[in-house]
Symmetry: D2
Subunit: 300 residues, 4 copies
Amino acid sequence: MSNLNGIIVPLVTPLQDRNTLDTEGLERLIEHVIGNGVDAVFILGSTGEAPALSYKLRLELIERTARLVADRVKIQVGITDTSFEESLTIANAASEHGADSVVLAPPYYFTTSQQELIEYINHITGQLPLPLYLYNMPGLTKTTFEPETVLQLADNPKIAGLKDSSANMMYFHKLKYTLRNHPDFALFTGPEELLAESVLLGGNGGVCGGANFFPSLYVSLYQACKNKDLDTVAELHRQIIKISSTIYCVGKYGSSFLKGVKCALSLMGICNDFISEPFHHFREKEREEVRKHLLDLGLL
Amino acid sequence: MSNLNGIIVPLVTPLQDRNTLDTEGLERLIEHVIGNGVDAVFILGSTGEAPALSYKLRLELIERTARLVADRVKIQVGITDTSFEESLTIANAASEHGADSVVLAPPYYFTTSQQELIEYINHITGQLPLPLYLYNMPGLTKTTFEPETVLQLADNPKIAGLKDSSANMMYFHKLKYTLRNHPDFALFTGPEELLAESVLLGGNGGVCGGANFFPSLYVSLYQACKNKDLDTVAELHRQIIKISSTIYCVGKYGSSFLKGVKCALSLMGICNDFISEPFHHFREKEREEVRKHLLDLGLL
Amino acid sequence: MSNLNGIIVPLVTPLQDRNTLDTEGLERLIEHVIGNGVDAVFILGSTGEAPALSYKLRLELIERTARLVADRVKIQVGITDTSFEESLTIANAASEHGADSVVLAPPYYFTTSQQELIEYINHITGQLPLPLYLYNMPGLTKTTFEPETVLQLADNPKIAGLKDSSANMMYFHKLKYTLRNHPDFALFTGPEELLAESVLLGGNGGVCGGANFFPSLYVSLYQACKNKDLDTVAELHRQIIKISSTIYCVGKYGSSFLKGVKCALSLMGICNDFISEPFHHFREKEREEVRKHLLDLGLL
Amino acid sequence: MSNLNGIIVPLVTPLQDRNTLDTEGLERLIEHVIGNGVDAVFILGSTGEAPALSYKLRLELIERTARLVADRVKIQVGITDTSFEESLTIANAASEHGADSVVLAPPYYFTTSQQELIEYINHITGQLPLPLYLYNMPGLTKTTFEPETVLQLADNPKIAGLKDSSANMMYFHKLKYTLRNHPDFALFTGPEELLAESVLLGGNGGVCGGANFFPSLYVSLYQACKNKDLDTVAELHRQIIKISSTIYCVGKYGSSFLKGVKCALSLMGICNDFISEPFHHFREKEREEVRKHLLDLGLL
């Protein structure tokens, strides 16, 4: 059912302030990633700070993104929410504006049993206007889609695949084995540090935050994997780990990944680096450090 | 600043279905708890399933509760949200309808550093129309208010106290010691299983889910603690642990507490036991078990 | 079966170096705690660094302690080990030298299921020459004695009780309720910060590391609890939290508790503060801080 | 310094009972793995149940293994212990009997800071007669060798490399990047499910428990990785995940891996499947299930 493969960019949400989009930045960002060959954009994910945005802003972002992308690549919209009703509202807006699919993690305040998770997913897909990708992100949601749970859900025709952001390759391999009789169920990998191995061993692609500022790196790595060019894979993988060990490790924050990506985009002149609460953007000292790493990568 | 002490009921949200209040049930529930002597009601907390409710429903609940309580006891309103803007909207509604204070846990999708948590709290209190109680609930929010953080926040005149639902008495004692020079900063305890000891050792009261269906038990225990009547304390404490070990342990669910409370209220004819996704109410087998425990407690 | 109640001191192991006892220090330490009224000494526990000591040293410590205590108070000996055989060897030595009971946590390298834990305990008690206290210490052993497990083990006549070092009062209360028909099964509490509430609500006493250097404080608190003298309880409890928040928080180490206790004993002239690998004793800066706190407590 | 590469078998310890080696089983096991091309045997690791064995048995195992291997492949000996002295005793025995290297995880009862871990490792290597491999196994030891810690230790000439059993490829890649200027520092991977990707992306080999009963599978996968034969890699990787999802998942035990491996060896007529406390071997029902899986793999 899914014919999505390759590199999906989980777009940051360019902001002027907490409740105002940086609309010019959004346009430049979309041109940057499409121009460098990504296969899809994913808005309102974790990298997009979706839970921190007001609902009004989320709806505006859907509308503007759809207009700017203009059918050049696929659009995925995150509808994860603690409230069933609010998830539906976002999903309906996504459909109206021509998005291709929606992405849903478990409700993330309470934790649920696997049985209740299955009921929840089957319940909501009954009302969804678009194909759904499950989103496994236990570090933030506290609930895992166990492989047996995914196997049960794989028969639901509304569900196209799963994005795994568990950062756990044991889980990924087990899941792929469990789904061995569902070859059309797509598996994408969240942490870009695991892109190489997941594609080499059967994954459909990656949802790579770094593709916001350096899209060609991830597109090239995906191609090298498909071409079985292991020397290139090793070299590009090493660059990704370098980015992860430098730009995403500036400061002492759990949120350094998001801050690093937005700071890089700001330094590259693509968009504003405002981040909504509870975070704040990098201040001058960290910004200088990111600048140095970008120079080293040849991105400035 | 705070003159709230004693037993606060974290009201369940009586529902007819996912998006419709059980308004008659809400009225009976409020009369039940006020008639049995509780000191305050707290709506839109975890026990109230706040994150699972649509925003429209949250606003309706504030308005109706305020009207039904009619200034007989204090009203607290939960404003915890992942979005700063949406927290403010709820807080403003609470103020308009005459609530006494608001309650705020850290944004619960991302985790934050303590420094960012302090900035977030100071930032939002600058715009809040009502006194604020901090809500420490790391099991659900993944972020703890460290004692040193609370000490820094205790100088903020908008902050009246903290409710601790960590279930960790080591933390509670350490926090109380850290705040030894802030005698007016109120400390309430979440898990009712820890009510006795926290009040005996200096806490201001409890936020007790069981007080929805058995308010007099918690009110009596609080009084016995204040009266230093240790024999009564021991006996009532034992009853609370019995409730916790029976009604809250029916089924194999992480959510048995919430399901047990709503099921008990339904069996007692107080309100509907509908629970919003991702949960569902107890089905017949579990309901029979709860009935048996209520009979044993003399509540049916 | 158990007639042990009150304050048990988990003795530190005074060392001259990694493999040599500070025998004079051991003698002074034993006189200090017995002279101040403790009810029992417990050697080869976590506070005694048992797992870090060579077996030769463990056997020597048993023999010397028994000789120095000379039947004035009860002696407990820790036999926790990852190897069944080595646990038995220590238990047999304890028995030969006249110890009163042994203490056993789950094997702490692998984690076990509750069913295997029950089999293990029943298996080893069949060969033990002395009554056994279970030791619940999941933070270090990774395995909890679930209340239902303890209930099954409570019928084993070799098992006298349980020491709970989980620092989790929810667990303690649940366990006590589960064992309501086993009034002779003794429950002791590990963290001294929880001594007051556990004794007020039905516990048999505490295993208090701070009783190494300040035994009278813990003995007095236990007596105040038994006398239902809540004002004294509150005051002594506050002193314990002060010690916990000062002496046990010096430096940035997970091991500050152990280092603080040994440093205090050294400053008071009782014994050497050598600590075996992987730790080291406090160096001058931390030592000065501990000295200041001891002066403040009136112990220097 | 290290010239070890490829597949290391973490040998199970064949036992007749808790304290008696199955010496004939040990001989058959060693012939089985050497005959199928493994590069080294590693005794007294987690798979070897080292912590559960008496010290007498550990020494006997070293002596017998050395005699049986007779210099045909390299021998590694685990010396992980909570006691510094006992680690040294095992290391000296390993050296006397001609082992090639020793393997050491952090002491696993207490947790240590990274600074103390560095001191501990440098301290013990000063007394070790053989090259050392660090062993990162945080799931059991509760202490991680942070990449920066390993970087500091990499200059210690006694340290040849690290085996990573964290099951965390994010860590593995970060560690490899951190050590980019230490090309001779060897990195081996613990979980066999991650063998393919770690070797494809620069690792030196694997320590594969399944190589006890199916050594040729792991040897072939390693060779396919070195030959950049991605189709064979994918096929053999899939077989490993199948073993992991079947034989290692029999029963509901955390210890199913160890029980599955010993049960397979027993069914194949190689050695006894006795397991020391706190575990027990698979009983008839689970044994039948393992038999079915072995038949399916063509191993019976």
